[in-house]
Amino acid sequence: MTDAQASPQTLFDKVWREHLVCPETAETPAVLYIDLHLVHEVTSPQAFAMLRERRLSVRRPDRTLATVDHSVPTSPASWRDGFAGMDDQARRQVRQLTENCGRHGIRLLGVNSSRRGIVHVIGPELGATRPGMTIVCGDSHTTTHGAFGALAFGIGTTEVGHVLATQCLLQRKPKSLGVEISGTLPEGVTAKDVVLALIGRIGVAGGTGHVIEYFGEAVSAMSMEGRMTLCNMAIEAGARAGMVAPDDVTFEYLAGRPMAPKDAAWDVSLDRWRQLPTDEGAVFDASVSLSADSLEPQVTWGTDPGMVMPVTGRVPDPASPSQARALDYMGMAAGEAIEGRPVQVVFVGSCTNSRISDLRQAAQLLAGRRVARGVRMLVVPGSQQVKRQAEAEGLDRVFAEAGAEWHESGCSLCIAMNGDRAAAGQYVVSTSNRNFEGRQGPGARTLLASPLTAAASAVAGAVADPRPFIARQRRIA
């Protein structure tokens, strides 16, 4: 037996080791092989330009997959008028990606593709994201793919160029952080609430330099979509990546996906995937644990995802000048109840919460109810595939009957660079991942929450706890 087999390893250790082209030394980082490189329009043009300047080609176009998501309009009106409102620069970005993919033989799920969507939604949906892979993208929420037991992280544009040219990255091995979520999630409390509470606990820099592995009873009980929400926001805790060990839930999700292995190849993969989970006795560099049992729906009150509280709570006293500035930006006062604060916009979407189960949750809560007068609610599916599925289930009608807007897929109001944006001073309950100043439009005020809390808030016209709504529905049923 080699040492490697003798000493217990974490999931992260195993995936890291498997991808070492050259190990790291004191002088040089490791050369890490990348199995899947996802590309989108915003962070790739300068990388392709670099290839062009140096007359380099893409080493593995077969390991590269591109889509357009950030700057593509999602509103039905803009689709009707052929993107009349789309600005020239954004148009140029989309055109350049199309040209670059054509030139280098990269598969592009472009504007008119039925499989287009937010890059972190389509990877898993297509079965392109699989256990044990290394996955990168010029996008910080690449951590999402870690839900499958892949090592997946965001890179900058220079590194996008490195991967295009060499299929490799220069990396120092990060440390590991074990996050145990014990217990059972109460009704009305979701993966989003878990990860918000975690960030509230460890802070937005709590995971810096680390790869998180989530485990425990509540994680095992989660669907793949819940696990994706969990890993998606690992970056909001500052972590390099988030991972969940693959199990039967993972395999069941993957089976039959268009890019998943088939027949004999599937059996081989399954055998390998089953060896990935962290070994008994392996140690993390750091550990945190959180109980799901007493968790309440969470909502942010400030301008980073760590400024978070239970929806039933009161806005805390600012503990630092930054928190005081955040309260000022948000127009909130310490000691006020967050529940009942009027909101003007509700957004269900983004790579955090735009998958079919997220939309089902929002629709269940909205069924037979109406979005409050004066509230604009946007529901933006994560992909065209999610959109079709939702329409097949009639969810789009539930949204329309409730008075919410039903959009084409894309990033939309998560980043507000495609024309969807909130006005200065407006309060937005949003299922996205960043409540940074100006993220949803200059001066807009974001309150991050789960799809259930977002839908409840849309009905109430104010920040609302979804649990009484669910209980009432139960009584009627």
């Binding site: 915003v42 044990g132 544009t157 390099r240 000048p321 660079m417 960043r434 100006g438």
Partner: protein
């Protein structure tokens, strides 16, 4: 690439913690397909009001900030998105080093690739820098030292290979390209890929 060795400059201080990359360069400026010219949009929503007029109270808009190439900021600078536009904008504006007690991972790596030094110092030196905007400071990459005007100094860590590349003006892609043989044999010996 231009080698980076020693940066000597007065400082500008933006004391906020958790300055995210959306603040450094708001998303609406990311539709560019070039990496130059982003300095004009650096901290756009902080520097300018809704009518595009400079906000006089923002540190970069004060007359004494002109020409400074060292930025001192509160903890966890550069958190949030992976946009390399953030270090591009800072560099284009004229910054060559960012000093904080904590700098987010992706930003740090992006900065190092673009001749912008991420410098993490201890709490006491940081507090002194925060309390003394405009101080003449030296950041020496070779010695990995930040020197204060009173002669005190602090050492900082920087990944060895990134430091070497910056000092010598070497592009790390050349190093990676030089590993083509290893990459090929890795691909060949790998019987199964996930």
């Amino acid at each position: 690439m231009e080698p980076v060795r020693v940066i000597r400059s007065r400082t500008v201080v933006i004391p906020s913690e958790n300055i995210d990359t959306d603040q450094i360069i708001p998303a609406r400026f990311l539709t560019t397909t070039s990496r130059s010219g982003l300095g004009q949009h650096l901290f756009a929503d902080k520097r300018f009001d809704a009518d595009g007029k400079p906000r006089p109270e923002f540190p970069l808009n004060r007359p004494e900030a002109a020409g400074c190439s060292i930025l001192v900021a509160g903890r966890n600078f550069g958190c949030g998105s992976s946009r390399e536009h953030a270090p591009w904008a800072l560099h284009d504006y004229g910054f060559r080093a960012v000093v904080s007690t904590e700098i987010a991972d992706i930003f740090r790596s992006n900065a190092l690739r673009n001749g912008l030094l991420p410098v993490v110092v201890g709490a006491d030196i940081h507090q002194w820098l925060m309390d003394n905007p405009g101080a003449e400071v030296t950041v020496d990459l070779e010695a990995r030292r930040v020197g204060l005007p009173d002669g005190r100094f602090a050492t900082f860590e920087v990944e060895a290979f990134a430091r070497y590349c910056l000092l010598e003006g070497i592009d790390p892609l050349g190093f990676l390209m030089g590993r083509a043989g290893d990459i090929r044999s890795y691909e060949e010996r790998r019987a199964w890929t996930p």
